[in-house]
Symmetry: C3
């Protein structure tokens, strides 16, 4: 397991700024605003479209898709499912953020069903990744007691199953395609006090997954960008409120550095 | 009527940090993000779950429940109602935030119906509390012309009816169980220029209501924490934008002080 | 085409602060919070009500209405349409924000249908205004390649058709009633990196349209207030995160200046 090299991440960030991928986010209503602002700051274009027929049309022009089940409602499951099917039809990368799977039946069963469509990327905490890989869990909300390292075997297995990339975030981030595993260290513990920091990272993973080249490196670059921005924000911040605001600034500054 | 003693509030804040109660917020879509961030900053764990079956399951693990009718839709009323019933079944404290009752029929009738389930806490402005207590009102949106003191009798009567705690927020906050009444002074007028400051305080009341001990003191401690954080934020702020951000920082700083 | 005179805008801003118009926003879930905070900062009162029966009641007391189709769902179209009908019945000004029309069929056809109800104001970027005026378009999300000037003829024609005011925002803003055209220069490019900056300006246009006097001048004053606040924010900001926060402060400072 190696730490991602900074130059690789910086190149991916520059590529993101050049291409401004359009990312369709079907995500929970708590974090829509922060997710959109984070994508804009980093250099991508967010679009939050929810009507089934518009999702169908939009699949033809979007560069990446995020599905986040945080505020899933059973009536919306078909829209999520068809969006993933359409992404596959158009060879658009799509990311699954399985918020709080394990603790709640609807999302747990639905996320397992989505696995059959082979998400390009799954981003979750150690508990969520372990559940999706078939292991037991505690399930007390989106929080986790496991460390990222403890979920590494589960992540590798899951990545192999979906033939995609799995990201386990925690004190440090692990990014694996089942064969190779990269590590991104650093960041700030303040991110755990900002709602949607993980959800927004998943959207950023979709943006980086839309770039050409090695997807493992690209997705790890999303984590790297978030971690560096988090360190910048932690220096500026007096608490989680100012942290969230400076995190967006930090991303924009990384975007503009060439 | 006495001002809440600072040491009592500080002890409740420490208890909140130790227990990190998990608060299920069924709240309006305008303030979900701010509410979640405010709970995280203060030391609680937010969860915004909306699917009926997931709400049912989640009732077994959550430590407190918030119902806020700000963007109520008639299709969601059953989910709200069952969530309150389940909270009662599991002896979980639940808070009602009756946003803008009086002016609009659906929410006014629905909030009156919810009263029959005896909310543990009701948090509103003077106008909202007066309406729920059965008095006439003006009903121009969530704003109020009444002072908190003018609604004190209504608040006491309402608290007696529900056998719970009623919080009237305004220039200062009054917290009553019908027999005893506490006052929390201070805070900042800038909070009235931040959408969801009251809604997020209701969520914080749910978090403090989940603590052991005297519920009247605990709920008043939520108001005290918010007022102190507001004063900190007002010192840092140049307007309502920076105020909202520093308010979160202020809460986090109070949480860490032991 | 003349630049709007600062004293005219300052007078309108003072009028807004005196009257605090109540603005009903039926808007997309991504920007609800920012929109509400922006209206509060500028001196108006936001209300986000979504239930059909409550929308019907609220039409009798609101001073202005915003319809924004950003996260339109086909099930919500009747609520939007009736809200516009009711606004017309009560002679309440209403604003249409046709987010991303052209690229997606549901919203494009629905916005065209809404044109038959003669919105008081339409606010969009050059691409959106061109589409509504009947011209072809690219349709890659809410972004636009056209300059405001290139859409001026389309804007004039559209304003004449609806007998209202059309605002084209971009590097500078053009505000026209078909006969007269005003220009508002300045602002900050950082606003393009904040989600909902345009959506929130549309809400502000609804607030200013609710004032007495020349509607063209009033709506242009909304653009002027936003541009001046944007310049203040750009001076304070280190990126899009801090910019959004200081933008709200800037609006509040302009509101308090008499």
């Amino acid at each position: 397991m190696f730490e991602l090299d900074a130059p690789i991440a910086q190149q991916a960030i520059a590529q993101l700024a050049d291409h401004s991928p359009l990312i369709h986010c079907i995500t929970n209503t708590v974090v829509q605003n922060f997710t959109a602002n984070l994508l804009l700051a980093a250099g991508a274009l967010p679009a939050m479209i929810i009507d089934p027929s518009e999702c169908q049309e939009f699949a033809q022009v979007t560069d990446g898709l995020l599905l986040n089940v945080g505020t899933l409602h059973h009536q919306h499951c078909p829209t999520f499912f068809h969006a993933a099917e359409n992404a596959n039809r158009y060879a658009t990368p799509w990311v699954l953020d399985p918020v709080a799977v394990g603790g709640l039946t609807l999302r747990t069963e639905f996320c397992r069903k989505l696995l059959s469509l082979n998400p390009s990327v799954i981003r979750g905490n150690a508990s969520e990744i372990s559940v999706l890989a078939g292991e037991a869990t505690s399930g007390r909300g989106p929080e986790t007691q496991l460390s990222a390292n403890q979920a590494l075997d589960a992540a590798r297995q899951l990545a192999t199953t979906i033939e995609g990339v799995v990201v386990v975030t925690g004190e440090h981030d692990l990014i694996t395609d089942g064969h190779r595993t990269l590590k991104v260290s650093g960041g700030s513990v303040l991110a755990t006090r900002v709602t949607g920091a993980g959800c927004a990272l998943s959207a950023l993973c979709a943006a980086f997954a839309a770039l050409g080249g090695d997807r493992l490196h690209n997705v790890a670059s999303a984590c790297w960008m978030m971690s560096r921005a988090g360190e910048y924000a932690a220096e500026q911040a007096a608490g989680p409120g100012t942290f969230a605001v400076h995190l967006l600034d930090g991303l924009a500054q990384l975007r503009k550095m060439r």
